[in-house]
Symmetry: C2
Subunit: 162 residues, 2 copies
């Protein structure tokens, strides 16, 4: 394997490992269990579940994989903090959205060459990218991997589901 | 910049960004402020401060940069959970250790070529590495970046220092 192939594959593998940890937190938990806050007065698990789906859905256009699949999630999980309402999608609905978004992402990742990962992401103009060549698609992947780990760390404060 | 150079530099940049976020949490907080737990009954900030130093110190031999600088931290911050004792290093001492370890790591990172990042880390034998070529030095860097973000996410539950 050439260095560029190895580096790109290692980064995708790190994403996949962290995704598996997030799935262990969120998938298979009941609606009731998802209503538990990560700490008193803080976000509920259900909010972080939807938040990660919304953020990862936003990676599709950002990486040039395709259009957003579920922009309707932003109002509930991105632009607003957790307002502790009950009018959120169910565990079953969120699980289906999770699988949908991550399936699309995986198909995109599988199609990228190492050079594709070093290309600019769509929120950067050509001029901006010329000035900041490290703000590439890989940077988006690594940033979102760390963002996911950040929230998984918070969810770890709640006892595991049974 | 060649793809392999861009990919390696992007990964180091992601580490640096997450390190800066951790420094915003830990550096400049008083001893008293560091005794605050991230949530009732959970790890204190001071424990996670020392924990990250110990884990990052362990990266030095793992990446072949050099010997561990502070193995004495493991007993307090790695092999044992936070036992809420007061016999821990002070904020001033931890800050000095933090700067020391991260200075060593930075010097090592700066010396690595892209191919160096794809080489095996020292916890892998040649045979293991032949079977799992993605368990390379970059995997260690990305794993530790996510680990740091995981704990920074927990620390974000505590109000920022003043």
């Amino acid at each position: 394997m050439l260095p560029d192939q190895s580096l790109a594959a290692t980064a995708v593998h790190a994403w996949t490992l962290n995704l598996a940890r997030a799935e262990k937190v969120f998938l298979g938990r009941s609606d009731e269990a998802l209503r538990e806050p990560i700490a008193p007065g803080k976000n509920r698990l259900v909010y972080l579940f939807g938040h990660l789906i919304a953020v990862h859905d936003g990676m599709l256009p950002l990486l040039g994989i395709g259009p957003r699949q579920h922009p309707e999630l932003d109002a509930l999980f991105l632009t607003e903090a957790d307002r502790n309402t009950t009018a959120l999608p169910s565990a079953t609905e969120l699980t289906a959205l999770w699988r949908d978004v991550h399936g699309e992402l995986k198909a995109g990742f599988d199609s990228f060459s190492p050079a594709d990962w070093t290309a600019r992401h769509t929120a950067m103009t050509d001029d901006e990218f010329a000035a900041n060549p490290l703000r590439n698609r890989l940077a988006v992947l690594l940033n979102r991997t760390a963002h996911m780990a950040y929230h998984v760390g918070q969810c770890a404060l709640v006892a595991p589901s049974e």
